[in-house]
């Protein structure tokens, strides 16, 4: 984590905006924000954000690198797309928020306790095993995310729902043992490997050792 972060700091010493442009998905749009605040006003979760999108954009321009990348706010986006629809400058705000979150993750700057980041990782790890999401395992992992005792409590609370789902065949307890996979699991892993290679190459192009 630290290494890449230090390298990026060194490379974009003066302009966090340029760093965002080069490394964050859709980051080249940030400069086009005109600070009208429609995004912040449109966000259904806006009041729970420490820094609503408008502020995030201003902070990027003001070079507040740590505050943005360590912010919980970029993880608050639920992809409702209200801001994208309303932005008079047509900025893909949702994508930028996810791009910032993704970049923060790469740099290892995500706050340790952020639940969204945790869940995202859990979802990814679960999916990677068989190429399909194992809902039973994912559900259980979620229940026990905050410790064993908490997990039991949540499980008991949802007991009735679980039984009903089993009765109607919506949940199969056998999934706890291995679970079913996509038809061509080896092929799936090959695809992912190739994608990772492409992504690494792209990052290397913009990365600390590249260009400049």
């Amino acid at each position: 984590m630290g290494e890449l972060n230090t390298a990026m700091i060194e490379r974009y010493r003066n302009s966090f905006l340029k760093e965002v442009e080069a490394n964050v998905e859709e980051g080249e749009w940030v400069k086009m924000c005109m600070q009208c605040g429609v995004c912040s006003g449109s966000c259904p979760l806006g009041k729970f954000w420490e820094h609503p999108p408008q502020e995030i954009f201003m902070m990027i321009r003001a070079g507040k690198r740590e505050a943005v990348l360590q912010s919980e706010s970029v993880w608050m986006c639920t992809s409702c797309y209200n801001c994208i629809v309303r932005c008079p400058r047509e900025l893909p705000i949702t994508h930028i928020m996810h791009g910032l979150a993704h970049y923060a993750k790469r740099l290892g700057l995500v706050p340790k306790t952020n639940p969204t980041a945790k869940f995202a990782q859990m979802f990814w790890d679960n999916l990677m095993v068989k190429g399909r999401v194992n809902e039973l395992k994912l559900g259980l992992a979620l229940y026990f995310m905050n410790g064993f005792g908490d997990g039991i409590k949540v499980a008991l609370k949802n007991q009735k729902l679980g039984m009903a789902m089993m009765k109607t065949g919506r949940m199969n307890p056998k999934e706890a043992f291995g679970g079913h996979a996509v038809k061509d699991l080896a092929g799936f892993h090959k695809v992912l490997k190739k994608a990772q290679e492409l992504e690494d190459a792209r990052i290397a192009q913009n990365g600390p050792s590249a260009g400049a």
Binding site: N14, K31, M32, Q54, M58, A62, K64
Partner: protein, 761 residues
Amino acid sequence: MAAEKKLAGYICTGCGIGERLDAKQLQAVATREGKLPSVKQHAMLCGAEGVKLIQDDIDAGNATHIMIAACSRRSKVEAFSFPTVAMSRANLREGVIWSRPAGDEHQETTQEMADDYIRMAAAEIKFMTVPESSGEQELNKTLLVVGGGMTGMTAAVEAAKAGYPVHLVCDEPVLGGVWKDLYKRVPFRAAAFDVPNGNDVDLPQPEDPGLDDLIERVMANGRITVHLNAKITKTSGAPGRFSADLSMESGRTLTENFGAIVQATDYKPYDANQLPEFAYGTTPDVLTNFEFERLAKQANGAVIKRPSDGREVKAVAFIQCAGQRSSKAGHLPYCSGFCCTESIKQAMYFKAQNPGCDATILFDDLRTPGAAGEDFYRSGQQAMVTFTKGQASAVVADGGNLRVKFKDLILNEDTEMVCDLVVLATGQVPNTGPDPYAQLAVDEAPTEEEKAAARAALAVAPPSILNLDYRQGTDLPHLKHGFVDSHFICFPYETRRTGIYAAGPVRRPMDLKQAMDDAVGATMKAIQSLENAARGSAAHPRVGDLSYPRFRKEGCTQCKRCTVECPFGAINEDEQRYPQFNESRCRRCGTCMGACPVRVISFDNYSVDTVGQQLKAVDVPDEFSEKPRILCLACENDAYPALDMAAQSGEHITPFVRVIPVRCLGSVSLSWVTDALNSGYDGIVLMGCRRDDDYQCHFVRGSAMAAERLSKVGDTLTQLNLETERVAVHEVAITDLKRAPAILNEMAETITRIGMSPFKF
């Protein structure tokens, strides 16, 4: 003018008039009471047949003065156009049947209303004559354009293109004025629309200012005579016959005659010495936008270096609204409207040379007017100019650097930035002459003390530009902040001196594109004005009116009220101190007529009599009839149309009101008010336009003058032992469709409450 008056009346029974009213009764009133020897009816007077009926009478010499009782005088003006005869109109459609509910219970009062309008129109026509021009007019097609900047040059080129010769007067040795330091200009064009691959394709970029090209076109044009280093030492006359003395560089004076004048003297850059908080004057690295433009022009595309040490600029801050939009002493209270796009353009100079240079614009509200405006903003953003919503409070020179302290308005924190150069986006100060009324204040101050105070105010006034030889001062009157007064919404180029048109930043702050567009507009108005003057007809808003104020010299007491109160400075004084009406300077508002205490001023088709006889012609029932009479004098520009439109949209008014349109509330003679009270009217409502700084009066000061004069009416009422509520003055806008009728109905209720006037005969 016909030697013998032949009166004729025509009553239209179309549009429901015949069904709602008793036409026989109307005919009888017109004949017996109106004393019209010939009265004809027609079911559709405005149709070809009806018009022919009237025209035939006129052609046969049987009608020289006609009364048409049909729709409002504002309707069917093309059909009822008989320029060779005098004409009055009784408004039976909008004024009566459309303003009143149908039904038997209303019939009596509605019919009385119509009868009265016939009596009034019949009385009015007897006191009208066909207006004809005085015959003193001449056509002078030459225009005088004052100011050699981009605005003035554009005006000259446009006039020349339209075939009118121009004299262009510039007080500097070269043309270009304040715009001549432009390195590039803010683009004039918008981005292409509906481009398939997004909005930000082909965004407008800073462009060549086009100054050299314009100068070349001016110099090469055979219709344009350029006078450099020249000043105007005297301007006299009126539209069509202005005479100006031009003091030339050689010391010789050239006197030329002009049809109309365009003043395009642009602006003066704001004096940034009033901004010590931004370290202006302490370090040469803090510049105004005007000074920076010169620096960029000198660099001419090469690296821009700091004035202090010649170091290349790597970081620059633009402080918007410097000394503007602020109530502090010495600051401009207004937004100059050009500085946001100007700063974007200047920031792009840096980005064009070195994309790595940090260029930050500190703005509060970014305002980017014009076709390119928003696209140009995006253009700057694409070039990576940083836009920070923040309010700068101070600039501190710190070693070789400048620290700009500001409050970030989005993040709500006090912060600062370090840079090499600071550009202050300062504003425009209009380059106008002194306010003529500041000068009059000196001449007319009653005490020595007041004279001294007025003189002190005048001492800081700028030197005169036009040197008008007018009774009311040397230059165009101001509205506020030194900008020339013009009707902002409807008639932006018309100033308060007829035939002299303001173009560009003398009128309001604006950028180059707007100033050049303005020049085109003002030039068109100037051409219109000189052509109108040649016909002896009025300029706006009474375009085409041939009447002009005549005055009975024997009756004049030389009180000078007319010469002082004319909103357009049209009236001079001759050697014997009698008023000297310059008819083509006159806008025909009648403010002089309303001012004259001895009633010696009148127009051929509008006078103290034409209105006075109307209000006397109304049948006033006795005190016990429960039928009060309310007189409404309504401004023909806004209030009267509002009442017409209210009627069209089905608003009802009290049947006791009788509405008489007036040219402007300023033309209202106080004798009409006293006459009405003496004739037994129970209430009087005067409707004029808004009269404060954001006035809507078509004659600028008419409505305000009327309000001032009428403020003393309360005393008259008290003397007559009448309630002061009986006379009310209201500001009515053309959009007041509900309010205008409501005002009249309220007066009717007031009368019910306070009782009938005791002055009935």
